[in-house]
Amino acid sequence: MTPTYQGRPFSLFRNLNAKIASIPMILTALVIFVGGTAWTVFYSFTNSKLLPRASFVGFDQYERLWATPRWLVAVENLAIYGVCTLVFSLVIGFVLAALMDQKIRFENTFRTIFLYPFALSFIVTGLAWQWILNPNFGIQQVVRNLGWESFTFDPLYNADIVIYGILIAGLWQGTGLIMCLMLAGLRGIDGDIWKAARVDGIPTWKTYVFIVIPMMRPVLVTTLVIIASGIVKVYDLVVAQTSGGPGIASEVPAKYVYNYMFLAQNLGQGFAASTMMLLSVVIVIVPWAYLEFARRRRHG
């Protein structure tokens, strides 16, 4: 089906229908993805306020960005949230998947239960957990009513630990998916591997750690990319649970960008912050893509 070019005069019109059909894709790729990104990066070097203006100020916006406490809090929060999400969702997801893989009954019921939060909007998740973590009515009050008067558990109202309150909701929503991906990975492993490990008398946990997990590398990489790309985007959850509070304690970069672009009318700051977000993704994605493609080439 690949067109063969035999010196035909109007090669532009070959496959014309396919080209017409691809116009939306080409426009999206060029105008929005390439054009939009280039535009934002370009205007992050200007001092645009209410409207984008092409008056350049060099790296001023970036210097101001990294001198703003709010941004520093946002970056720190994202780092804590990111590391914890990565570790906990991988560990919990894998353990759940390993338990589900033991030929258990009611597997479908368990899977349905673990996965349903993922169908919900982050707003719904955030509001539900905001209610459960409400210090006057939620878990804290329930435990106090039981007689433990000094019990304190108010993560959403304590600036020091507020990001962990958001983490609880995030994990609740996301680990089901990770469990499903891991389970698919475990199911993809040849049963003979398990038999061979048995014959050699290797304990189960060792089989998992030294044989099964290394064999699940492709699934793990996919999972990692999925978790990582979800982390950078975290926004709705924070808005619903705390609106960034108390004070600015639960600010995240995505929210910082939104505030400066659409509320504070300081477009240049917003562009600079979003460019930093892009940069962080590039730093993660590029080495991964490079390694993956290098591997594929080596293995043919």
Binding site: P24, T40, P117, L127, G176, Y258, M261, M277
Partner: protein, 317 residues
């Protein structure tokens, strides 16, 4: 000591040795161990049940809270079932809850979301399926380059493209309207959907396509008469993916629409997180459940197809 026991009760020894051997040989892929209440099973089911309770708890709390009256909420604890069941909060959330000056409840957001989701799903899937078909069966020079850009573009944080899209929408006069948001969803749904359809069409036997070509069928005929009828499952997966994704969207809704056209998620957030007024937690929870109902119903009906959909669409985040 153990040997004595074994000799003393041979039946017992057989009974306890059997599962041990079966266990040693089985692992996760062997036959199910005979004894139901072995320590291993108790551990597995115990852990899973505990986790299941944790996962179900928020849903339970939401349902219970939404069925209580405010006095009961102030007195009782959030886990206790309602003494007196009332549907008042649900009615209020749907028809009279206030956001700012508007007091016509979540129903407006619901219908906005319907009017956004239906055309967005239809448009994005039509465009992406035709794109995927062109990429899989009618490759032309440069197509792969655009496709690669598209897929890589899916990893760019939306925040980077938010403002350029505002400008584009303003230029074509759709900023703030439902159709503008439809266009945005079509654009940002394109990478994952195109990937989904391209891979699916590429997995269909090529002979079908060739035979149709020999019989003189063209681009659109083959798509409509052969590809479309053959790929209903993948269309269902795409529809599930898009309906839940678009219904649950918050960021695009809050950026590209005005209060009159806010989708349900945005309106919900405004109702619950309103600063002024007395907090009515039961109404809030009813509103939250109402918003979550559509994706939940889809989830419980579609079952395994949903898993396929999210496995394909998870990259979208």
């Amino acid at each position: 000591m153990a040997e004595q026991l074994l000799r003393a009760a041979p039946e017992l020894a057989v009974a306890s040795a059997m599962p041990a051997r079966a266990r040693a040989l089985s692992g996760p892929h062997g036959p199910r161990p005979r004894r139901r209440f072995s320590r291993r099973n108790v551990f597995i089911y115990g852990t899973l049940a505990l986790v299941a309770v944790y996962y179900l708890l928020p849903l339970y709390v939401m349902v219970v809270t939404s069925l209580k009256g405010m006095p009961e909420i102030r007195l009782g604890n959030i886990f206790s079932p309602p003494v007196e069941i009332t549907f008042e909060p649900w009615i209020k959330a749907w028809s009279t809850a206030c956001t700012g000056l508007n007091c016509d409840g979540l129903s407006r957001g619901f219908w906005n979301s319907v009017m956004i989701t239906v055309p967005s799903v239809f448009l994005s899937i039509s465009i992406a399926s035709i794109n995927g078909y062109a990429l899989a069966n009618w490759r032309f020079k440069g197509a792969e380059v655009f496709f690669t850009v598209l897929v890589v573009g899916a990893f760019i944080p939306y925040q980077v493209m938010l403002y350029p899209v505002v400008i584009v929408l303003r230029e074509i006069g759709l900023y703030g309207s439902l159709w503008g948001l439809v266009l945005v969803h079509t654009i940002f749904g394109m990478p994952i959907l195109t990937l989904l359809f391209r891979n699916y069409f590429a997995s269909l036997p090529e002979e079908l396509f060739k035979a149709a070509r020999v019989d003189g069928a063209g681009f659109w005929t083959i798509y409509l008469r052969i590809m479309l009828p053959m790929s209903l499952p993948i269309f269902v997966v795409a529809i599930i993916l898009q309906v839940t994704g678009i219904w649950n969207d918050f960021l695009f809704g809050v950026v590209y629409t005005k209060p009159d056209t806010y989708p349900m998620t945005v309106q919900l957030n405004n109702i619950v997180n309103a600063v002024q007024g007395v907090k009515e937690y039961n109404v809030n929870m009813a509103a939250t459940l109402l918003t979550g109902l559509v994706p939940l119903v889809i989830y419980f009906i579609s079952g395994k197809l949903f898993v396929r959909g999210i496995a394909a669409g998870a990259v979208k985040g």
